[in-house]
Each structure stands twice: as C-alpha cells, then as structure tokens.
C-alpha cells in the first residue's frame, strides 16, 4: 500500500512537471468549498475536486487501476477528471466579482507564475508547418519519387530513423522494414535494418552490412542521410543513386528480391 501511495505522489509531481498548477487548482477548489453559497456549484467545483484528489492519492485506487488491466504508466490520466481549468477560472471569477479587468490580470498572472510560463507554443516540438500534412517536405518529395504507380504492388523502403514517423502518414503504399516502435527506447525492440540505419555521423553507414539487411527485408529502396558518411560507395554494392534531395540520397537496389 505504501508503494502505491508513493507512486501516486510521483505521478502527481510528474503531472505537475515544472509548474504547480494542480496546487493552484486545489487551493481554488478549497476556496470555492468555503466561499460559494450556491450548493450545486460548491458540490461540483468545490467538494468534488477535493474528494477526487483524496481518491487519487488513495493507494487502493491505483491498485484497482492496475488490476483492471489499464495501460502501464497511464495513472496520471486519472488527473484529467479533475476539472482544473474550470475550478481556477470560476474561483477567480468569484474572488474578483465586479472587478473583471483586475481579476483577469490577476488570474492570468497567477497561471503564468504557477506554470512557470510554460506556454505550449514554446515547446520544441512545435514548428512552423512545412505543408498541409504537417510532416517534413523531405518525406513528401521522397515518397512521391519512389511510390508505386496505380495498380503496381506496394514497395518496401528503408528510411533513416528520423523519417520513419512520417512516411506512412503520407503514403501507406510504402512499407518499411522497421517503424517507430524500433526507434524509441521505451519498447526495446531490435531490428537489423534499424541497427544499421540508426548511426551517427561519427560512426557512418556500413554499406555492406546495411545492404545485406535491407535485401533480407526485401527493401527496393534505401534512403540515406547525406550528413552521415558511408564507408564505401553504395553503388559498389549494387545500389543505384536515383536522386539526392532535401539532404537525403535515394538509392534503388537493383539486386533487391521482390
């Protein structure tokens, strides 16, 4: 039970991240519970959040959550049931009733301070979209070049790890020997093509080993990152360079088995 309780504390702090917004929400709920006169508002935005936080930290809740076969590492989603935004916004409205401009300024300031100015758009994962698909242009150009024509069978191509997320979001007629599940450490899967492709510019591509694995996986195309050097010219191993675009070299394997 103690382990579950400690895990709940960890989950709560992981949810808080770099800010303390959930603490602000709990304080707001307590304020509503004390000050609100309307019983139904007090029940849902005051009493419920307080009761719910107790339920969240209660070890048995986590035990049941895990026993019913919920996905691992998703207990934090239980905190989604606590309507933090509504509670904070409503508490601010009742504190600053009649002084709306000051109220908005104070609430916005409190949110910014408690979130340590975690504006979502400052995230490193958000960038100006290159196209309507919101995937890199490089993927679109490469896929357009290698995609099979109408009525032709699907093809398989080995892409560098940074592109495997996007290829099939654009064209599912292009298959891959490995996908995102082999790239991210959380799954700890192993794939021979991925092992050869997932190299740094210091290591460089080992073309003989790479081509051996791509042929075993029946890849018709091999796409290499131009910033990563190769130990030998890929054409020596039967790969024909068909284009170089957006920082990638696209090779067709003339000896690939279909």
């Amino acid at each position: 039970m103690k382990t579950y309780f400690l895990s709940n504390i960890d989950t709560f702090f992981a949810y808080c991240g770099k800010g303390i917004l959930p603490f602000l929400a709990i304080a707001a709920a307590v304020y509503i519970l004390i000050k609100e006169k309307s019983i139904y508002k007090k029940l849902i935005l005051g009493l419920f959040p307080v009761v719910y936080i107790v339920i969240f930290f209660f070890p048995l809740t986590r035990m049941i959550f895990e026993k019913v076969g919920m996905e691992d590492g998703t207990y934090y989603r239980m905190l989604w049931l606590f309507p933090m935004g509504c509670v904070i916004a409503y508490a601010a409205c009742i504190i600053f009733y009649g002084k709306r401009r000051i109220g908005i300024a104070a609430a916005v300031l409190a949110i910014i301070v408690c979130s340590k100015a975690s504006l979502v758009y400052r995230s490193k994962y958000i960038t100006l979209a290159e196209n309507k698909f919101h995937i890199p242009n490089a993927v679109i150009h490469i896929c357009n070049l290698i995609e099979p024509n109408e009525g032709e069978p699907r093809i398989r191509a080995a892409f560098p790890p940074e592109l495997v997320y996007f290829v099939r979001q654009y064209n599912t007629n292009i298959m891959m020997p490995y996908g995102r599940d082999y790239v991210e450490a959380q799954w700890d899967y192993w794939n021979p093509v991925c092992e050869q492709m997932n190299v740094t510019s210091d290591d460089g591509y080992k073309i003989r080993d790479l081509v051996k694995t791509t042929r075993e996986s029946k890849c018709m195309y091999v796409i290499l990152n131009m910033s990563i050097p190769t130990d030998i010219d890929p054409q020596e191993e039967g790969l024909a360079l068909i284009a170089q675009m957006d920082g990638y070299s696209i090779y067709k394997d003339l000896k690939a088995e279909q």
């Binding site: 949810y15 808080c16 991240g17 770099k18 800010g19 917004l21 019983i39 139904y40 508002k41 029940l43 849902i44 419920f48 009761v51 719910y52 019913v68 919920m70 998703t74 934090y76 989603r77 989604w80 049931l81 309507p83 935004g85 509504c86 904070i88 916004a89 601010a92 409205c93 709306r100 401009r101 908005i104 949110i111 979130s115 340590k116 504006l119 979502v120 758009y121 995230s123 994962y125 958000i126 960038t127 100006l128 979209a129 309507k132 919101h134 995937i135 699907r154 398989r156 495997v164 997320y165 099939r168 979001q169 654009y170 064209n171 599912t172 292009i174 891959m176 996908g179 995102r180 991210e184």
Partner: protein
C-alpha cells in the same frame, strides 16, 4: 475552385450534418436549452455514436473492404438522420409561423424572417420576452442575455485568443510519435479500405488489436477524409484542430452559462481565463491541456477535452435542475450523458472507465447532498453503453 468545393464539403460534414442531426435529440431539450451550440453538441455526439454502432460490427464481421462498407452504411444513415432533422426543423418553423399573428411579416428572406425561423428551431437563441420578466420561475435567466460594452470587449479578447489557438493548430506542426500509429490507421482506412488489419508502423498484416481497434475515432477521421476527399493526415493535423478547439470551448461556454446564470457578464472573464489556462497548462507532457493543443486530433485528447468537460457540464445542469426543483421529466441531460458515454469508448478504450468513474462519483455526491437517490439509478442507466463496451472488449481480448 477545387479548394472551395473541398471547403464546402468540410463545412457540410463537420458542421451542417451534425447540426442537422442534432435537431432530433435537441427536440427533447427544454426550450431554453435548445440553442445552436447545445444542438450542435448533441448532433456531434449522435454522429459519433451512430458511427461507433456501424463501425465496430463492420470491423469485426467484414473481412475485405470493411471500411468501404462502413463508409457507405454510415453515410446513408447520416443522410437519413440529417434529412429527418431538417424536415423536423421545417415542420417546426411552419407551425410557429402559423401561430404567429404577424405571419405576413415573417415570410421571405428578410432579417426578421430569418431570425424568426432560427428562433423557432433554436428557441434557446431568443432573448427574454416581456412575460419572462414577470415569470416567478426565473426563466428570464435561461434566455439569451445581452452583454455590456465591456463584456463585448472581453468577448473580443476571448475570440482573439481562440483564433490564435486555432491558427497555431492549423499553421504550426506539432510532432508526436503516436501519430505514426493513430494517424496512419486513418490513412490506411482512407487509402486501403482496411479497418485496423494492417500494422501502421511497417505495413505488414496483423490481427485485430482490440485495445486500439475499439476506439474507432481513427476510422471516423478516415470517414470524414473520404467524404471530404481530403487526405486523412491533412484532416487530422490541419482541419480537425480548427474544428475541435472551438468545439471544446463551446462545452466550456455551456459550463460557464450554468455557473453565471444570473451574472452573465462574468462569462467572458471565465472564458478568457480558461483559454489562458489551456495555453499555459503545458507544464508536463501529461496534462490534458498539453494534449488539447498539441495532439488535438488524437482520441486521448478528445477524451480529456470533450468527454470529461461534457460530464462536468451535464452534472452542473442536473444539480442545478434538482436545486431549483426543475426536474419535470427532463430526460435531456441523461440522454446527452448516455450519448457521451457511447462516444467516450470511441475516443479511447480508457474513456469508458474514466467516464464511469467520474459519473458515479459526481452522482453520489449530488444524490447524498440532495437526498435524491434516483440520480444514482439514472446515472447507472447512462453507463450501460460503457458496460456493453467493456463486456465486448473483454470477450474479444
């Protein structure tokens, strides 16, 4: 020209059809709640619930071209429901016009006539009449309110923030590894007519993975793509944020309307703070606010930002009705809750558990406070779809 046709298709399938369909369940709403927003929320939930009923059997029973059958059946059912909704609206307008002593003034296509027709179908959009102020039932506060000049400016600020969020969603790309699974599922249905039988990551064939397969929101996205003739990735990343972000605020606006029934001037303040909270809630990758603005198109984000706020809204509504003893047989909130529970499983298989937990805690708190234990019974009835979903899930697992 092609872009305009595509835009018309998108507006038709994402706005007009749910609104038209929503008129049917909306007819069960009390008059004061029969607004465009609430009708649309009902319609959206009905649309997805109907899709779930069609999509799951298609996925389980049809081996080849399952998505093609699913698309055809769903489009037919949706068009029938849409036609019924529109016919009902025409009937209501006709009836209201006949009742009106100024019928000659409200014919044609002038402003008065259009306003009259809109208010006949959506009486919740009308402002209080003189007799409402004399009513002992306080119903004046249920009608659409007028705002002061300062409130109008604050509404302007809120809409500017909303526009910023929509603009960022449309023009900025947010990288998330899960898209390699969920978005590709939609693209596979759109391009290959399959329903969860090809491994999204690599393209190899696979057995149906029930945990993801039952959450058919990816198939709904593919359905919208094929009806609008737009690539499923564009629908997910560019079109859905423009639609789902305002939709979530629509729900918060309804929550705000209940909270500030007598102080409507506080509503824009509430909405501004909500919008700012959403933008600054990105303190970790786990928060529902992070999901809302960075993974808007994923079922998990919809669970946190559609299903859960709807439950809060409905329980505020129910608790308020019980508080003012306005429980004269209104099944409307329970109906919306049932639809919402059906839809929660579409968003994520976790949704059925989370929805049920939230509903039962809120129901118990309200029932104990008001000593109205029928609330618990009614709440249990609304989670029957969740129980069926879990039963099917366990049977297939």
């Amino acid at each position: 020209m092609g872009n305009i046709v595509t835009l018309i298709r998108i507006l038709f399938w994402l706005i007009a059809v749910p609104l038209g369909i929503g008129i049917l369940p909306g007819s069960l709403l009390p008059k004061s709640k029969r607004s465009v927003f609430i009708t649309y929320i009902c319609g959206f939930l009905t649309t997805i619930a109907v899709f779930e009923i069609i999509a799951i059997p298609c996925m389980l029973l049809i081996m080849y071209d399952a998505f093609e059958y699913c698309r055809l059946i769903n489009a037919s059912v949706q068009m029938i429901l849409f036609a019924l909704g529109v016919s009902y609206a025409i009937l209501v307008v006709h009836k209201e016009t006949k009742k009106n002593i100024l019928a000659f003034e409200i014919k044609g296509f002038n402003y008065r006539a259009i306003k009259h027709r809109l208010e006949a179908v959506f009486p919740g959009e009308s402002h209080p009449a003189a007799e409402d102020y004399l009513s002992p039932l306080d119903c004046v506060f249920d009608k659409k309110q007028r705002y002061s000049k300062e409130s109008k400016i604050l509404w302007g600020v809120f809409f500017a923030i909303l526009l910023l969020q929509v603009g960022m969603g449309v023009f900025f790309a947010s990288f998330d590894g899960d898209d390699a699974y969920y978005v590709v599922e939609s693209v596979l249905a759109y391009q290959a007519d399959v329903m969860n039988t090809i491994l999204p990551y690599t393209g190899s064939s696979t057995a149906l993975e029930i945990r993801h397969a039952f959450a058919v929101i990816t198939m709904w996205i593919a359905y919208i793509s094929s009806m609008c003739k737009v690539h499923a990735t564009i629908v997910s990343h560019t079109i859905l944020p423009a639609f789902l972000i305002p939709f979530t605020y629509m729900i918060y606006m309804e929550i705000g309307r209940l909270l500030f029934r007598r102080k409507n001037d506080m509503l824009p303040m509430f909405m501004i703070i909500m919008a700012v909270f959403m933008m600054f809630g990105n303190t970790s990758i786990n928060t529902s606010e992070t999901f809302f603005l960075t993974r808007t198109w994923q079922g998990k984000a919809m669970l946190g930002n559609i299903t859960i706020p709807i439950i809060i809204w409905i329980f505020l509504w129910i608790a308020q009705d019980y508080r003012y003893e306005r429980i004269t047989g209104s099944i409307a909130p329970w109906m919306i809750l049932t639809l919402n529970n059906m839809v929660s499983g579409t968003f994520s298989s976790m949704g059925v558990m989370f929805g049920s937990i939230l509903i039962m805690i809120l129901a118990m708190l309200i029932a104990l406070s008001y000593r109205k234990f029928s609330i618990i019974f009614k709440s249990i009835v609304t989670i029957v779809p969740n129980v069926i979903y879990i039963g099917m899930y366990l049977a297939m697992k």
